[in-house]
Symmetry: C2
Subunit: 389 residues, 2 copies
DNA sequence: AAGATTTAGTTCATAGAGTCTACAAAAGCG
DNA sequence: CGCTTTTGTAGACTCTATGAACTAAATCTT
């Protein structure tokens, strides 16, 4: 098939054993089943490039380990009928999406399909928030006792410290640096993996998008601030201390408003939800509008100040996205956030500014279909990505 | 040792055969010999984590294929004396560094040591430039007939089309889109690999730097324009059509001078060599100064206008570097270009602006020790990186 | 000086893994 | 009923790493 990866890349300083090919191929076969189920062994062999006998052995392993199941029997023009394989729908993952406005706990199957879902009212005090989350998780687990849970994936509105794997920094929630991972692990007995919302969305796009995960993409999460998740060279680009993707603080306007970081005119200060609300107030809009949803509703109803505010935000949004495009040249940039609910109206403005003076075609720019779902579905990816199989 | 890489990463959509471990381990062993030569089999086993017997087999292979040689015999406090292994110094690579101001052709051994070196006068017309390069390469090859050449690595002042692997776009040379790779391959009979100067420098840092190539770094090449090479997740980050790293066109100053790309205040227009010369002229400097080297010399002599021009450039340079740091959070940012020759004087200015308002420690910022050498030494990496072993 | 100890490097039986060929199973078609 | 086609399995074969045993060659101890 395609040529082998560079043999001199530095990716692996790790020696390989005889079990390495099985690990790789097992991974490959599982992902093919995940993305193309139902699928027969023979088709897996054709798609993967492995021999039918090899696929059979790997499938046997995966069935023994309860990751997949034999399903219905297919039908062909002639020849023996294939046995379809599918993900084991008795296995499930708990998905937690912590969000400033609303926190959701859900159960998804291994394919990322949402099976059950609850909202959790998050107490303001951090000390009470985590018990509330644990209670929500427990409730869903007991309500789905027929499932075997593989782990818990959490999407956070803040940074996680990948080195220690347990701290988060979530200024938008007014939480201090917290060590939530071990607490939830102890309380539930399940493995917990977490990452910030933008990375979660990026993983969702790669795992559940129609593309095969072979190209680079950037997810830009526009809410109170602006964060981003970068998928490049086949992995999330995390950077030192997980700090990569902080495009929110690239300077867009040297004369812009002062940012919390101390600089002027950071992208966040001119293109975030907060910026849009500020434009609205400064433009003479009603002081009663306090949330982005309200502002968007107003604009959709045709209120002039609201439209103007979102138009200004859109232009700045496009300008920053253009910088991301020239910095990383991904194949796609995906926007997540409230503004996407009015993309039909403001998307063209963003796109116009995004394409200004661009020499070549540039990346595709599109809104995420549903950020809430994407963050929840990322749970499977988070849990499985760390190699639980 | 370290835990295995994620089994669900999408890096490899490729099936593995039972030869895969050998490929990986051979790669690993060769790189250990490359970076730690001279080294014994026993030490290789200790460092790699492989068994002594496995290392012996791989070493036998590498010797048979002429990549390495048995060298001198060591001495220990007690026990049998180890046989040192080293790179085969009969094998060499041709390194070509095409540069607007001067083009160099060199021969390096597999360890990147420069064995021979010639300057090539590049005719202005592109039609005559390539024959001149070929002649220079031929001359060095015949002058080093004791060597066996593995390939030719070329560093270019422009973009290469990685998809087709043969086109380059080099506006700074006033060359049209050219297909130089197959021409040189046909003329010399050697495999040609090429990449732009910034990527070449990044590869050099990873291959020959003291770090083990396990972390992310960005090389910023400041000359007429500004280009960059991004090393992340264990590989060069190339992006769609090899266009990643075009930080030169991020906007630094919305009211800045008009850039060739159509926007205002691109980083290139305020922090490149060209920008420094413009500051100098606008500030009332002598019109006779036309090159960056001359400007730097003048500044080093204390001429006020020159100092001022380079100081302005330095501040803008630092500002852009700050954006790279927050976008990618690499462990290191390395600056290459003429300005590094006066880093002792202007580096602190760059660094000061770079660190403005930075919350955390941030990446290390440092000048490349020698950009010319780095670009030449990248030839080995370019040739070997594509898997010729 | 002879044996003990230590370290380097090799040999070989063994087990894990994928490939490839042969073959059994199961369906449609004439 | 036999032929063809396709799915899935079995087994011989090859490649590879492992780990224990072994040889080689040096120093240390007595």
């Amino acid at each position: 098939m395609t040529p082998p990866a560079s043999r001199f890349a530095f990716t692996q300083r790790q020696s390989a054993s005889n079990k390495t090919p099985r690990q790789i191929n097992r991974n490959l076969v599982f992902n093919l089943i995940r993305t193309r189920q139902p699928i027969s062994r023979a088709d897996l062999a054709r798609v993967s490039g492995l021999q039918r006998s090899t696929v059979s052995l790997i499938v046997e392993d995966l069935i023994r380990d309860k990751w997949i199941l034999e399903g219905s029997i297919g039908r062909l023009p002639r020849g023996r009928r294939p046995t379809f394989l599918e993900l084991n729908h008795h296995r499930a993952v708990v998905a937690v999406d912590i969000h400033p406005s609303q926190t959701t706990v859900a159960v998804t199957d291994l394919g990322g399909r949402i099976v059950a879902q609850n909202l959790v009212l998050l107490p303001v005090e951090p000390a009470k928030a985590i018990p509330a989350i644990i209670a929500g998780v427990r409730k869903l687990i007991t309500a789905n006792e027929d499932k075997t849970f593989v782990g818990i994936g959490i999407s956070l509105p803040g940074r996680t410290d990948l080195g220690l794997q347990k701290l988060i920094f979530a200024p938008n929630l007014n939480w201090p640096v917290l060590s939530i991972k071990p607490r939830i692990e102890r309380a539930t007995g399940l493995r917990v993996e977490m990452d910030n919302a933008a990375n979660a969305c990026a993983l969702s796009e790669v795992w559940f998008g129609d593309s095969d995960g072979n190209h680079d993409l950037v997810v830009v999460n526009v809410s109170e601030g602006i964060g981003s998740g970068i998928f490049a060279n086949g992995r999330l680009l995390r950077g030192e201390n997980g700090m990569a993707g902080e495009f929110g603080h690239i300077q867009i306007d040297a004369n812009g408003p002062l940012c919390g970081c101390g600089n002027r005119g950071c992208w966040e200060t001119v293109a975030s939800n907060r910026a849009a609300l500020r434009y609205f107030q400064e433009g003479g809009g009603s002081a009663s509008v306090q949330t982005m949803e309200a502002l968007i509703k107003l604009a959709q109803a045709g209120e002039e100040h609201a439209v103007k505010a979102l138009e200004t935000m859109s232009v700045y949004l496009g300008r920053g996205l253009r910088m991301i495009a020239s910095a990383l040249a991904p194949r796609e940039i995906i926007v997540v956030g409230d503004i996407t609910s009015a993309w039909y109206r403001f998307g063209p403005l963003v796109e116009a500014e995004f394409k200004v003076n661009s020499l070549s075609k540039g990346p595709r720019l599109r809104p995420s279909l549903d950020g809430n779902t994407a963050r929840l579905r990322s749970a499977v990816a988070l849990v499985m990505n760390e190699g639980s199989i």
